[in-house]
Amino acid sequence: MKITIVGVGALGSHLVQFLRNLDAEIKVIDFDRIEQKNVMSQFHAKNVVGKLKAQALQQSMSFLFGTKLTAIGNKLTSDNVRELLAGSDLVIDCLDNAESRRVIHKFVKAEDIPCLHGALAADGNFGVVAWDDFVIDDTVTGAATCEDGEHLPFIGLAATCLARAAQEFVASGARHGYRITPRGVIGT
C-alpha cells in the first residue's frame, strides 16, 4: 500500500505520527518551511525551525520511531501532479490551499485513486474527514487561528479521526468519514 500525504502542517504532521504502525509506504509532500509559530500546534519541534516541513518530518520520524518516509519538498501543481501522485493507492489531502486541493481532486478523480481529505475551520473548532463528499472551501487570507496552540488538542482529535479513516481503508477498503465538532465526533 502506497500512501501519499499532501500537506504536513497542523493535520498532516500529526497524521503521520499516528500512521507510523501502518503497513504502508508513506510519502509526504510539502513545500513550506517550519516557522516558530508552527511549533505550537504542529508535530514539528523547535530544533527544526527553518527547515522544509517534509524533510524535517522525515528526519523526526526516523529519529524518534525508526519510521521511514519519502519526503518531497515541492509545491504540488497541475504541472507535477502526475509525477507526485501517480502510483499512489491512497492520497490524503491535508492542504490549506484551495487551488492545490482542486488540482488533487481533479487528478484523483480522473485516475480513480482513493482520496481522503482533512480540513479545519479557521477558528480551529470544526474538522472534516471526508472522501467523495468533500467540499473545497476557498483559501482564507490571514493566518489560521489554530497556529497559536490553543486548539492543539482539537487538531489532535481531527488528526486521529483522519488516521482512523486511513487505517480502516487500508484494513478493509471501508471509506468512513467524520465530522469533528466542539462537542464530539459524528461518523458519516
Partner: protein, 84 residues
Amino acid sequence: MEAHEARLNVTWNRQAGDLPDPIPFDARDEDILQWATEAIQGGSIPGITADPNVDLQGFHVEKFEAVEGRAFHSVVVRPKTPFG
C-alpha cells in the same frame, strides 16, 4: 424519530449541539439554516449560548443517511474548513 426525520447538529461560535426536535431529512438548506439561526437566537440548542447576532451565512449544510453505529439520519450545519 421517524424514518423521514433527522437530527440537526449545529456548530456556532466554538460551541455545538443538537436541536431538541428532529427535522425533515429532505428539508431545503435555506430552511435548515433559518431554523438553526432562530434556534441559536432563542437559546434552544443545548450547548450553544443564545446569540442574537448569529449569522450562518456561508455555513455548509450536510446531510448523512443513517449508518451502522448511528441509527438515524443526521444533518450538520457547520463553518467552512479552508485549513489543513
